[in-house]
Amino acid sequence: MTQSSTPPRTYEPELVRLPAGGSRAAARRVEREDLVTFINAAFSSTGQREFYGDAAGQAISIDFLHEYIHGNYRRLYARCLAVGLNHFNTAKIIAKLLASSRTSGHGWHEEGRLVTAALRRLPAPQAFRLLRRLAERRVNNRRARAIARQWLRERPDPDFDAVKYRGALRAIVRHCHLRLPDERGRFLFEGAGGKPYAHPLFEAYRRARHDTRAIYELPFTVAEGFAARHGIDRAKFLAAIEPRMTQRERVRMKQAGVREGVDVRADLDALTLTRLSSYVVTRPLEERRARALELHQALERAARRTLARQRWRLGSVATVLDRSYSSSGSEEKRRRPLALALAGHYLLREAAERYEAHWTPALREEPGVSGPESVLLVDPYGSTDLATPILAALRSRPSLVVVISDGYDNDPPGGAGEVLRVFRERLDPRAHSVIVHANPVFDANDFSPRALTPSVPTLGVRDASDLPTMLAFARFAAADAALDGLHEFLEARVAAFIGPEPEPEPEPEPEWEVVS
């Protein structure tokens, strides 16, 4: 038996030796490795609790990475916004960039445009939370104010925002010294306390304090608070507020609706593949069995929609999907790793010409559901034997093998890593089969998603629709990749992300005017 604190990390003598180009080449290698580590981490980490790691450890680990990359490679740090990192890390990067002082050179201009573009793509709740946090941290420079103002000006329905995100918007407006037109300012700061409003939504908010009928004109999250305050019966409330729910709120409240005997119409096609998959694996088994065909077809349609956007085709693909007990995630990320495995399964099945899936532990025969739908009944259970399904996947010599697993391989420990290493060294030295390990879990101690073996690139993945990007990125994670390639990759992503140079800004409209 060999001893090591973490099984997959083997000692690689050639990585310790100085490369041929001397210290400059060594510095470039370090730069590439740092960036790859960061991008990998920023794809998967959300600072939430994982199956093996607690939230505090996750937060410390990802905070350090941000601090380190921001301090050493500020320009590349900003460019990471274009790669499509998860929302948590995008918000973190924006906050860090806006909070720190000006850099020299034309990186400054690019940075501003990257931040504006990234902020525009964040979901509204996350963006409001980010701007509010900047206000709380007293980040008040001209650029931060301008970007916040620009973003608010582009919001499609500012009156709705004022009601739904009233607290956050008030903090931002006060912090950035923005003047609001007509009633909106009064509504933000006086709320329901003052005189009647002319605007129907504001007026509904004011009346909701004393009139339970007005509650149902408000957005769901705001109405919920008033309903609790008036002690309205849950079933009655859900039935009446149902038309005002957003698509995701409908899906979220569907279960509550069933419990209360209210029909909440949820449109599964409004969800992305990963969200839908997450929804499926958190349903009870009986429900999944009863709705197998409906869920299966919805997942297939979601996979097709993702593919249609990305125009992505593959040859022969084999997947190794981990549904062991650790894929149950945590209270904060319930069954997230399992949901990703299922989403990856549907996505790659649609994208590939020939496809086979190997689950570990193998799927059991379930009564009542057969054929491709039987995969819907996956549940996280059992130990992780990755070696056997990887061997089974390699037998058909597919051109691409994707392993979706948290990298904790315990039957036998390190077995998968050894199989992959020996396969690369002895059986497939020319890399006829491309093998990629996609890991949905960020390992705080490693500052990266846990790897199976150094000879196979490990990529953090949060959303199954990121898989095409991740596969494009995989070649930089290999030990012998060049830094130039990574720079070109980033530059191409940046160009696509921020688009062509914008027209000179038009005169600001009267709303959101800065108080002089």
Binding site: M1, S5, S326, N410, D411
Partner: protein, 374 residues
């Protein structure tokens, strides 16, 4: 206590799977290819803070008991009913602060197909009753109390699983094998305890009770002093592998080595000879508890087991005595074997009489002796 039979525990039918390590805790799953269907286990949780068990008219065993185990023959079995535990309140108020319950016997036949036992406590009671009655010959060296009342009250201390840092996390993230019926617990790679159930379904239910079990002081010390255990793994020899079949065989070989390795690490229990007493019978099964050799160099596990007619284990739960407890056990067992005669005992321990007296004193057994002898 009369002498029991000397035997080795029979682990036939059980196979160790590769271990899972979290922090300082290594859990080795035991897998049974053919589960025992003829016997089922379940727990009855106790909410009392203190449980007193009447062993006979003059003796009581008192401990914190988190739950009882009920062993049942399923073919006779009815519903899982609660088993009459009498609750006694020492004070009228506040009743919820500290509750005491009184039970009859540590292992009791509730009806023809059902047996209730207090896991681990049955075994610990066997350890506590070594020499408990005191000398049967009134040797002049022993104090009056010991001659009239025996060693009462005899007490030992143990720790709950929650006191071992890292054990709760290790049990939480442990990934059960589908056919798993048991587990070997190692703390800082010291063998802490073994638990075996007849059926995988029973084990799944009882997995979390390992946290409520008792562990010796030694293991808590080890756990505090060594927060990390290195994960072991096996490197394959790449040079000899030229096909996927060979690779597959190599992995199977690694699994077999893991099994042998677990048996080696747990050899303190698996190959040791124990002194077993039959406590009760149920159908074709026999409930027994066992005492170790008390040898100071060996691991000393006390425990209880249910074995079938061929002696194969259906249920096992053990408690590892700490070194001091093993020394006390050894002194008392030797005294009993020598009819409490000090010279003969000293001879059996290959030592001198003054040395034996010093040992008794140092091991907290000084109160056995009259003051002039001490």
């Amino acid at each position: 206590m009369k002498r029991g039979e000397q035997l080795r525990l029979d682990f036939t039918g059980l196979r160790a799977a590769p271990s899972q390590v979290v922090g300082n805790v290594r859990l080795v799953p035991l897998v049974r290819d053919e589960p025992i269907e003829a016997l089922r286990l379940y727990t009855v949780p106790y909410s009392a803070d203190l449980t007193t068990v009447r062993l006979d008219d003059h003796t009581a065993y008192t401990a914190y008991v988190p739950h009882a185990l009920v062993v049942e023959l399923p073919k006779h079995g009815g519903s899982h009913t609660s088993l009459g535990a009498q609750l006694v309140r020492p004070k009228d108020k506040p009743e919820s602060v500290f509750r005491v319950q009184v039970l009859q016997r540590l292992a009791r036949r509730e009806d023809p197909s059902r047996l209730r036992l207090l896991p681990q406590h049955l075994a610990l009671d066997a350890y506590l009753s070594v020499g408990f009655a005191g000398p049967n010959v009134p040797w002049p060296e022993y104090s009056r109390e010991v001659l009239s009342q025996g060693l009462s009250p005899r007490s030992e201390r143990s720790y709950r699983g929650t006191d071992i840092p890292g054990l709760d996390d290790a049990l939480r993230v442990f990934e059960l094998h589908p056919q798993q019926v048991g587990v070997l617990v190692f703390v800082a790679d010291a063998f802490a305890s073994a638990f075996i159930a007849p059926h995988p379904a029973d084990y799944r239910r009882l997995h979390r009770t390992l946290l409520q079990n008792m562990y010796g002081e030694l293991l808590v010390q080890y756990a505090v002093l060594q927060p990390e255990t290195s994960a072991l793994w096996q490197r394959l020899d790449a040079a000899s592998i030229d096909s996927l079949d060979a690779l597959s065989q190599a992995i199977d070989g690694v699994r077999r080595e893991w099994s042998a390795f677990a048996a080696l690490m747990a050899s303190g229990l698996m190959t040791a000879e124990v002194e077993a007493h039959t406590v009760n019978r149920l159908g074709g099964f026999r409930l027994m508890r066992f005492l170790p050799s008390f040898h100071p160099d060996a691991e000393n596990h006390v425990g209880e087991a249910i074995v079938d007619a061929d002696g194969r284990l259906a249920y096992l739960e053990t408690f590892r005595l700490s070194a001091a407890q093993a020394r006390r056990g050894r002194l008392l067992a030797t005294l009993v074997a020598a009819d409490w005669e000090l010279d003969a005992t000293a001879q059996a321990l290959q030592t001198t009489r003054p040395e034996l007296l010093a040992r008794l004193r140092n091991n907290g057994l000084g109160q056995l002796l009259r003051s002039h002898v001490r």
